[in-house]
């Protein structure tokens, strides 16, 4: 006879779990909405900065240290993961992709050092690969000034030729249920539309700057706009990653809730069967007892 009490206890504990996963799903959904708003809010600025940059690229005699490609010897890779788990394969996929990148660069004899964002990424890589900086606590509250600081440090290192290129691996936000792992080269800046925004940023508006007055001058404007573009790109990647994490957690928790409900269903069935069995058995015993007394 299946132990009735044990089954009941299990149903109770699965119900508790379901309550937690359901709450987590709701929290993730709320956070996701906010993260999505942040992405949308940052788009006009990022887009226009980039389009002006492209316009300047097309001008004659334009050059800037951040646009110049040099042979890669030392490279920085920014790995953007999450602080917490319980979000499906969100973190694991990033690590897999990052390791692939590291392997490929190793074969080319390029020295890669990591910048990690997110506690999970730090825990994963601290014993596997040299880490330059772990930007702790950034993901709890993503602000533009904070991201700018990180970007400025990287720019300094690139200008001093301590780094020859800066790459980033992050989860690009497609929708609440779909994220794509993306590897992008942030520096040197190329005149291609970044992969992550190709669909959103049309290129039509980006030319026709020939008649402009530039104040104080093209070079001075370029000098200002290039680092700003980089900061904005980094900011965008962080925002996308945060939204992706919430999206991934939301669907993971939704699945967990569904599984818990199924489990409760089958456990309840088992419980009722066992209970019925018990009742039948007791009846038989009573009837048997009555028969014997006759």
């Amino acid at each position: 006879m299946a132990d009735l009490k044990a089954i009941k206890k299990r149903i109770g504990s699965v119900q508790n779990t379901r309550q937690i996963t359901r709450a987590m799903k709701l929290v993730a959904a709320a956070k996701l909405r906010r993260a999505q708003d942040a992405i949308v809010a940052s788009r006009p600025y990022a887009y226009r900065i980039f389009s002006i940059l492209l316009g300047l690229f097309k001008q004659e005699g334009i050059s800037h240290p951040l646009l110049v490609e040099r042979p890669e010897k030392r490279v920085r890779l920014i790995v953007l993961a999450g602080d917490r788990g319980l979000c499906g394969s969100f973190n694991a996929n990033i690590f897999k992709e990052a390791q692939k990148f590291l392997k490929a660069k190793k074969q080319e004899n390029v020295e890669v050092v990591l910048d990690v964002i997110g506690k999970r990424a730090y825990d994963f890589f601290k014993k596997r690969h040299p880490i330059a900086t772990h930007h702790e606590g950034l993901l709890a509250k993503v602000t533009y000034p904070r991201v700018s600081e990180i970007a400025n440090e990287l720019l300094e290192a690139f200008k001093k030729e301590e780094l020859d290129a800066i790459y980033i691996i992050y989860n690009e936000f497609k929708s609440a249920i779909s994220q794509t792992i993306t590897t992008e080269r942030l520096i040197p800046i190329s005149d291609e539309v970044p992969e992550g925004v190709a669909g959103i940023w049309a290129t039509s508006e980006m030319d026709g700057m020939t008649n402009y007055i530039f104040e104080p001058g093209k070079e001075a404007i370029l000098e200002e706009i290039v680092p700003r573009h980089f900061r904005m790109q980094l900011f965008r990647c962080v925002l996308e990653s945060v939204a992706s994490e919430h999206g991934a957690r939301m669907s993971a928790m939704e699945n967990a809730t569904k599984n818990a409900s199924e489990m409760i269903g089958s456990l309840t069935l088992e419980y009722n069967k066992a209970r019925q069995e018990k009742i039948t058995r007791e009846l038989m015993e009573i009837v048997g007892g009555v028969e014997a007394m006759k």
């Binding site: 006009p44 600025y45 990022a46 104040e215 104080p216 200002e224 900061r231």
Partner: protein
């Protein structure tokens, strides 16, 4: 009429406002943009920005940015921008004081000095446009 948009990395502050004129803190001094202005791309300094909308002047405090003028449209891209109506005067005052104190104490390295100088600038701009 000129269309005015102000965007920052974190928000769209003004979208498609219709203005009679726009004054922006250009790199070489204050610029007044009237309808029919030539295409222009300029750096901005920390300072006040204002435009006339429906007979009412709207003021903003902006810092670090660009303005693009084309086809009767002014697009301001600033690192920070604040509506004068939303500025907390007391906060601006105390921010100004803090920055001044830091600068007077004078134990800052070049980077910090610059940072506080900019903070002071912003606080002064905020104060002037909100009064």
């Amino acid at each position: 009429m000129i269309r005015v948009d102000i965007v920052t990395p974190t928000k769209k502050l003004v979208e498609g406002a219709k203005a009679d004129w726009v004054k922006i803190p250009g790199h070489l001094g204050e610029l007044e943009i009237l309808p029919g202005h030539r295409e222009l791309l300029t750096l901005l300094t920390t300072g006040p920005l204002s435009f006339m909308q429906d007979g009412r002047e709207r003021k903003f405090a902006i810092s670090h940015g660009f303005a693009e003028v084309r086809k009767n449209r002014v697009l301001v891209m600033a690192e920070t921008a604040e509506d004068a109506a939303a500025i907390d005067k007391a906060r601006a005052q105390s921010a100004k004081k803090r920055a001044e104190e830091k600068l007077v104490q004078g134990v800052l390295n070049e980077h910090e000095f610059k940072k506080h100088q900019l903070k002071l600038q912003r606080a002064i701009v905020r104060q002037t446009i909100s009064s």
